[in-house]
Symmetry: C2
Subunit: 374 residues, 2 copies
């Protein structure tokens, strides 16, 4: 799936024209994908048949794409929309995003954790790449696998039931009506009459400024040296910037008394915040018709960061299941550490990619380029 080609805003176009064109296209995508997504959800009776058939197929994927983009545009270019309408629309889009994203997230987490376990347990056949793993022959590995599989299947089934229920709700119908309105009739206010370049670029630059500030606060210098163990241990602390509260993070099903999860969550929170700001900046660029391939790559890295962090929480949570054997718990400890290593690898990858962001992506934003890496 490639990004739809965007046309650069003609120098004579107004901000309203550029935004209306973008939102008309995205709302059209939303309305085309919605019945498909509903059909896909209905065709899946409960849990999913296999890890190889991605949840929701084309319809759900397209719907999520449109939801993210419309929400991003409404946020970044907020000053040109009727405020109450934009605020309500964003809230409803966020609700649909959270609803639809859960089931695929559980599926990806299953695939991630079970394949990590298989890799850790692998015994290489002669002459084949990917040799003996850290848990090869460990008696706890099959039990840990079965436990994770059972817990994630249960969570996925629950998420699926919720989706099935809400896809028939009045709330979704109301949101679809909003999107229908958006096609051709975007509720704009006065600033939308200004020239696109003058109105939109400063707001896009604002999105980049927010992203840049959040990245500056990351312990990027430590992340840029391999094996500094930031994500595994030696977290946060002095010089790593202020701790961002854990506002934008889905709450893990954490048992009480496990400070470890919350300590890691506090360490991960600034990275998860950057992920959201990066998506916003990426969609802000799209509206202005600029290619954002570099941002798409960073976006993927931070998605990986988020998924590994969530998978680590799942492993830690599974280890608190009553009556498991020490061998099972040991394997879950290894899996947890392995996922935290993936978190660290994603930070390392981010630290390597971020400084290469071409200045052309951020021109219009006034911050001096030379200071970007701090």
């Amino acid at each position: 799936m490639t990004d739809a080609p965007m046309t650069a805003p003609a120098s004579t176009a107004t901000a309203g024209e550029v935004l209306a064109r973008y939102l008309t296209e995205q709302a059209g995508n939303f309305l085309r994908a919605l019945p498909q997504a509903v059909g896909e959800a209905g065709a899946r009776p409960g849990a999913l048949p296999s890890l190889n058939s991605p949840v929701g197929g084309g319809g759900t994927v397209e719907l999520l794409r449109a939801v993210r983009r419309i929400g991003g545009a409404l946020h970044t270019y907020g000053s040109v929309f009727e405020p109450l309408w934009a605020q309500e629309s964003r809230a409803e889009l966020r609700w649909l995003l959270n609803l639809l994203a859960q089931e695929p997230a559980y599926l990806r987490r299953s695939a991630r954790l079970l394949s990590a376990l298989d890799s850790l347990s692998a015994v290489a056949p002669a002459g084949e790449a990917g040799g003996p793993g850290m848990l090869a022959g460990h008696q706890g590995a099959p039990k840990a696998r079965a436990l994770l599989d059972r817990q994630l299947t249960l969570a996925r089934t629950r998420a699926h039931s919720t989706v099935l229920q809400e896809l028939r709700s009045a709330r979704l119908h109301a949101l679809a009506d909003r999107m229908t309105l958006l096609v051709g009739e975007t509720p704009l206010v006065e600033p939308a009459r200004g020239r696109a370049g003058e109105v939109l670029l400063p707001q896009a630059a604002g999105a980049f400024g927010a992203l840049d500030s959040a990245v500056q606060a990351l312990p990027l210098r430590r992340a840029s040296a391999a094996y500094q163990g930031d994500a595994l241990h030696r977290l946060g602390g002095a010089g790593a910037g202020p701790q961002v509260p854990q506002q934008s993070r889905p709450a893990p099903a954490a048992a009480a008394g496990m400070d470890a999860d919350s300590a890691l969550a506090a360490d991960d929170a600034p990275w998860h915040r950057v992920r959201i700001l990066l998506k916003r900046a990426r969609y802000a660029l799209e509206v202005c018709g600029r290619p954002g391939g570099e941002l798409a790559e960073l976006d993927r890295v931070l998605d990986r960061h988020q998924e590994a962090a969530d998978a680590a929480v799942t492993a830690a949570t599974a280890a608190r299941t009553p009556r498991i054997t020490p061998a099972t718990a040991y394997v879950l400890g290894v899996v947890h550490a392995d996922q935290r290593l993936e978190v660290e690898a994603a930070r390392f990858a981010f630290g390597g990619l971020w400084p290469d962001l071409p200045p052309s992506l951020v021109d219009g934003w006034e911050g001096p380029r030379a200071q970007r890496m701090g």
Copy 2:
């Protein structure tokens, strides 16, 4: 502690003169350090008072230094010594090395594992570096710490008793007599009359050739990219060179039925072998009076590799202790994975240092420099 300054072999000196001078000096170090080491061992009643006072202090350290260097010279320059004498001497030096190295190794392993656990469990005081760790507040952490501490203290105490016993043995006295003979009366054979440059350099080059071949067989390209997870999982396999049998590795106290340890041991073995060959090459250079600072750095990296690999085995072994709680086992799994990450980090560091070996270190060795990295 810096290496003793070595004088370059004068162009007119014979191989025998150069070797005799080197061995006289090292045997003198041996004989001076021996009574000190015996006194230090006797002064320690059983287990050691604290992690901050390194086992054996100056005497044991100096004795180990001399033992390694004499053994290395006898091996690398074997053709100039009386063969039976050299063979017996090397066997006795190896015995003393294994005897003396164990207790400090257990002490270092305690320090490594307990500080890793403390780091993983750390809750950062405000404004202090090294923040909340992965196991902060985890109920299993104190139990896992106590278990590792207990098991390693026991192993160390046993090693200490063996040292105390053997330091009074006839075997040690006989070895001391051999070293006394070496001072001034090295048992040389015919080739020792040749010029030092003509006799010694080809043999030193042989030691480098063996090192180079062993390094070529390492999966260095994978180790040179961070986070490829070689040591953690995805081990060995096609293209990683032939598996070296686990000959030069101290057998871990592994319980039966744990293939994981042996799978990792097979993966680690070529690296442990390189460590030994690297020490030999380093001491061979010393004999020729060449500085080997770069080799000393690589040597330290591979020592770290070995120690992390052994510590990982200790964590895995501790997890098999009967009647531990799942929480304790979980923490030991995390600690195991953390040590395997250290193994991987050491490989990464080695992969970064090896190609920078200056050609001047290996001139005299005929292998083409351009092919060294494979």
